[in-house]
């Protein structure tokens, strides 16, 4: 499948969502694309992963063609407000107002809209052109990712007029546009990740008219064990293998794409490259 300019990667915690996002970003950059890998929040996971100095909102170059940025909603909001308010003094007054600060911190849906607003700013033509071939977002895990996508839908329903309504509708248009945005749900062959992943896929389809792709990660290759083998370790692996098969079967005909399990590796780049090779082999990426 051809990868699009904006890619969201989500999945239940612990399935390797960040690994898949990073593997896609690194692999694409090595194919000559300009890629921005994005994480949400105040704290960078990739900072430790790639052993980088402090990573912030301003993109940080990891390797040729690959940059990393940590999007916190305050910075996104500042950029957005800056687009409307050109006077520095008014801008500062707004953000230094204590009540505004408290309000921003807790106001319903504001965080989500700020982040989605930033992710979709280029096609909506608000804010500067970011100049990347791909923006790959290591998004929240399933529940919060759904809340993130839901924010503009909820807002555009409650607020019809004014910038809030207009922007929300525009955000919806971008995240629904399959020629611009792709959504990946990462899972691994265990009960909860599979059930939650399939559930999210069908919710995105019915509630948001978004078609998400499943990526199954951490598939372990088990050795052949005869049915009569009775050593506890053999019984354990045999049963684990049966379970894995069962969950992979649940994904059948749903075009789940797979990546094999990689054991803990200290060489991060080699680790990501091997995941990327799996993604290419299984058809997630057309190089």
């Amino acid at each position: 499948m051809q990868l699009k300019p904006l890619i969201f990667v989500t999945g239940k915690g612990g399935v390797g969502k960040s690994t898949i996002a990073a593997a896609l970003a690194l692999g694409l950059s090595q194919k000559g694309k300009r890629v921005l890998l994005v994480e949400f929040g105040e704290k960078s996971f990739f900072e430790k992963f790639f052993q980088l100095p402090r990573v912030g909102y301003k993109p940080h170059v990891i390797s040729s063609g690959l940059e990393l940025s940590l999007w916190d909603y305050i910075s996104c909001l500042r950029e957005y407000v800056g687009f409307y308010v050109k006077t520095d003094k008014v801008f500062d007054l707004f953000f230094s107002n204590q009540i505004v600060q408290k309000f921003i911190q807790a106001a319903p849906s504001l965080k989500e809209l700020a982040l989605l607003g930033k992710a979709t700013s280029q096609p909506r033509k608000v804010g500067p052109s970011l100049g990347y071939d791909h923006i790959i977002i290591d998004s929240y895990s399933t529940g919060h990712h759904k809340a993130l996508l839901k924010a503009p839908f909820g807002m555009s329903e409650v607020i019809q007029r004014g910038p809030m309504g207009v922007h929300s509708r525009e955000m919806i248009r971008v995240i629904q546009d399959p020629t611009y945005t792709q959504h990946f749900i990462v899972l691994k062959p265990e009960e909860l990740p599979v059930v939650e992943g399939l559930e999210l896929q069908s919710q995105l389809r019915t509630d948001f008219l978004i078609e998400a792709h499943l990526v199954c990660n951490q598939i372990l290759t088990y050795p052949k064990i005869s049915n009569t083998a009775s050593e506890p370790v053999e019984v354990f692996f045999r049963e684990e293998n049966e379970l894995q098969k069962k969950y992979l079967n649940l994904l059948e005909d749903k075009r789940a794409l797979t990546a094999q399990h990689c054991f803990h590796k200290k060489d991060k780049i080699a680790f990501l490259n091997s995941i990327f090779r799996d993604l290419v082999a299984s058809g997630v990426v057309i190089p």
Partner: protein, 349 residues
């Protein structure tokens, strides 16, 4: 683990989603009950099978008695029904029926109340507080809601407190008056801030918000009071935070960071539980070389990760590992077996 249970009355099980937090919380509660305690377990959104096992599958909102032990201990379980608790809170704390109905009908409240930052944390804390106040239990285990960040759970009270504290509500009340022409009530800074807010969000949004906050002002004292009480419980000496994780790099880094952050905020993290470790097996009479290789690969990979975790961890934190046990989660027996399988890991001090 027994020792840790003896020294406390409340365990808060934190950790990011997908690590088996609910299963671990349940097995800790079972262990405490097996030690002769009257234990209440609050789970949040358990899997269907786990819910069946705890007798919560057709849950009617009441606390369920799960198992009696010979030691005299009992395990009770309950879930946290967010919408119900939130609505209940609104009803209990509104001055009149009209007020509560107005709030429950507010479009922002309806659209966003279950989504509001901190609302799930709020309802969990309220459940905890009610259980503590009832003085019915020797030991309470609280499973925390899935969060972007584990810390959201302890930060939520402060965030809500800020939102419902006097100044923000007061601000919106003044905005209402501004509509009726009394502009001078607002300071210059506030006027500028309002102008910007209107510009970027639109007048309709502001009107909805005003309605929401003016309704909220009715029950802001009760919400503040509740938040203060909850904070006291969480920071108390009887409360221990446990971080549940599995051997996934992202989770481990998060767990490390969480310990520091919890400490900074004044909460005490006593232990890290590493869940779903490959169990120990004897290889003496195994002849299948591929099986041996896979087992050793898994073990070595896990050992490397555990030693990295311990190397970076703060002194005084107790590590436990819990093996991956294959059991039918619908049957309590499996969970009881798991509850006896906590193993302490050697930690360099």
């Amino acid at each position: 683990m027994r020792d840790l249970i003896q020294k406390h009355k409340i365990f808060v099980c934190a950790g990011s989603g997908g690590v088996g937090k609910t299963t671990v919380s349940s097995s800790i509660a079972l262990l405490a009950a097996s030690m002769g305690k009257k234990v209440l377990l609050f789970t949040i959104d358990p899997s269907r099978r786990l819910a069946t096992c705890l007798g919560l599958d057709s849950w009617n909102g009441e606390i369920v008695s799960v198992k009696n032990f010979e030691s005299g201990g009992v395990l009770y379980a309950s879930m946290v029904d967010h919408k119900k608790i939130f609505d209940e809170f609104v009803k209990e704390n509104s001055p009149s029926k009209q007020d509560s109905e107005r709030m429950l009908k507010n479009r922002l409240y309806k659209e966003l109340s279950t989504n509001l930052s901190g609302s799930q944390e709020f309802t969990s804390l309220r459940s905890l507080q009610k259980a503590v106040d009832s003085k019915q239990y020797d030991f309470i285990v609280l499973d925390t809601p899935p969060a972007q960040h584990t810390l959201d759970f302890v930060k939520a009270p402060q965030v809500l407190f800020n939102l419902f504290s006097g100044p923000v509500v007061e601000w919106f009340r003044k905005l209402t008056q501004k509509k009726s022409g009394i502009l001078s009530i607002l300071s210059k800074g506030t006027q500028a801030a309002v102008a910007v807010l209107e510009k970027i969000t639109g007048a309709e949004f502001i009107t909805e918000l005003q309605d929401f906050f003016v309704s909220v002002s009715n029950w802001s004292p009760s919400i503040q009071n509740m938040v203060i009480q909850a904070q006291k419980i969480l920071m108390g000496q009887d409360t221990a935070f446990l971080i549940i994780t599995n051997l996934d790099e992202a989770r481990i880094i998060e767990a490390q960071d969480n310990i520091k952050d919890f400490k900074r905020l004044g909460f005490s993290v006593k232990s890290i539980v590493v869940n779903r470790m490959t169990p120990d097996f004897e290889l003496m009479s195994v002849h299948n070389q591929q099986v041996i290789d896979l087992y050793q690969n898994l073990k070595q990979s896990e050992a490397e990760q555990v030693s990295e975790v311990i190397k970076q961890s703060t002194p005084g934190i107790q590590f436990y590992k819990l093996p991956k046990i294959l059991f039918n989660e619908e049957e309590l027996a499996g969970l009881v077996e798991l509850s006896q399988a906590f193993k302490s890991i050697e930690v360099k001090q």
